[in-house]
Amino acid sequence: MHGIDQAGSGYRGRCGVDNHLLLAAGILGTTGASLNRMLSLGAGGVVTKSIGPYPKDGHAGPCLAVLDDGILNAMGLPNPSKEFVDEVAPLIKKPVMVSIFGGNPAEFARVAGWFEGKVAGFELNLSCPHAEGYGAAIGTDPGLVEACTRAVSATGVPTWVKLTPNVTDITSIGKAAERGGASAIVAINTVRAMRISTGLRRPVLGNRYGGLSGSAVFPIAVRCVYELYESCKIPVIGCGGVSSADNVIEMMMAGAGAVEIGSAVLNNVKIFETIKSDLYKKDGLTPKEIIGCAHHG
């Protein structure tokens, strides 16, 4: 397997990211202490739980079902809203990206304003597949994606836009984010999905519909990253089912400059250290040699 040199993380400069492996939004990102724990367990940076303009309790349970090769969830964007500023305050100067959701550009701008100067950057959740009026409800409309992105990128703070795979052409959404001033694209959020309990004769999630993550969606994520790398100029961050160093390399070959890891935390809370020890080698290739190399020849 290929190894890479840790020194080449393209995000180090602006967001202070320490390596190519970031904690994905929605995973252990509800409290400052939990995010800090993941940083100390080797994450190069962390993305918080998505924060919105108002506190939300989320959907009634069950909120999660663990499958053979993935996780199905519908949390419903639970978040403490503005009180989250106090959670991340002790992490100032650390590579913390605040994930934001809103129902329109003004709400995105308002939430971003609370955190300006206190975090390394923003990741816009334009992709949650199971929250009415938010997330993918906005993220499937290129015009809205551009407007929401612009509302936040105007702050001058690094702004990543996380895309939903639940569209016919993800590149049209990626290009909209780019026009809106995004500094990077994150692909992908979960894939809209459902399982039914045959014993109880009803969907296994309280919200009925949910989003699929984990190994099952890795091929979809690789395809989306590959397409976005060809159609956009800004960096792409790969997310979706990454659980090994080889998955990281594969994502990079598709065009990802860094990856986010989420579901793999389920079986191993120390997944970042595990992958790092396999991935980084002193005589490894530079990331530059690998990123996007599958597009040549």
């Binding site: 252990l28 509800t30 409290t31 202490a33 724990r37 349970g61 079902a65 499958l67 309280g206």
Partner: protein, 254 residues
């Protein structure tokens, strides 16, 4: 990853334990160690964490929407069960168990495992004491009630003063958080917080260690996966006894 969809269970019978507490008996057993919990899906309502009171029972106090809905269920009705999850109490040879209210539920299987020398059982009043007979069968039970209707008048912590705590190799505690905090203060004073374990209750969404809704300050440890049983010395300088978070993640003072 293991395929661990909720397992459907049928309720065989419901036992009324006190005016507020009932035991639901399932048609399936879940091998577990005392202190572990399951996520109980009440179809159409919610999914909540509950300690197992035996391999095929949960013992529930009516508190919120899901437990209220459960109290309307009877024999033949179905629930979904995920788990068992988390870490149970550390095994000991001479265990002191301290239970408050419905906190006796996870301690009954510990007492039945034949390692509990003494169990301190507390409740507001005599009729709310849980599992008195069952516990009496397997261990030495000392009782305290807030109103003095049975046993010592006062909190269960007062019973600790008459014991030689040095004879026990482990102390297992489950009950209302303020009661557990009082126990923690006492064991800290005696220098035995490290051999005392507390079973925590926090709001949980996933139960699987990834959503983060049950993480405690300042360690960031997950109650569902790293707990729910934690050593006292880990809880000394923590949120335990001070605040917890609600479904949205906002802090609520106790």
């Amino acid at each position: 990853m293991d395929d661990s969809l909720s397992v459907p269970v049928t309720i065989l019978r419901v036992r009324k334990e006190t005016s507020l507490i009932r035991t639901f008996v399932f048609d399936r057993s879940f091998p577990f160690s005392p202190g572990q919990f399951v996520m109980v899906w009440v179809p159409g309502i919610d999914e909540i964490p509950m300690a197992l009171s035996s391999e095929n029972t949960i013992t529930v106090q009516k508190a919120g929407d899901a437990t209220t809905a459960m109290f309307a269920l009877g024999a033949g009705d179905k629930l979904g069960i995920r788990g068992p999850f988390g870490n149970g109490f550390t095994k000991g040879e001479k265990v002191l168990a301290i239970a408050g209210g419905v906190g006796a539920a996870p301690l009954l299987p510990l007492a039945r495992a034949d390692c509990v020398m003494t169990l301190l059982l507390g409740a507001k009043t005599e009729s709310e004491l849980l599992f008195v007979d069952q516990l009496d069968e397997c261990t030495d039970v000392l009782i305290a009630t807030d109103d003095g209707s049975l046993g010592l008048s006062g909190f269960v912590t007062a019973l600790m003063d008459d014991l030689n705590l040095g004879v026990y190799d482990r102390i297992a505690v489950c009950g209302p958080e303020m009661m557990m905090r009082a126990v923690l203060a006492k064991v800290e004073e005696k220098g035995i917080a490290h051999k005392t374990e507390f079973s925590l209750h926090r709001y949980m969404k996933c139960g699987s260690g990834i959503c983060g809704s049950c993480c405690i300050d300042p360690s960031g440890l997950r109650v569902c996966r790293d707990g729910p049983v934690f050593s006292g010395d880990l809880l000394l300088k923590s949120e335990f006894g001070h605040y917890m978070r609600d479904a949205s993640g906002r802090k609520k003072n106790l």
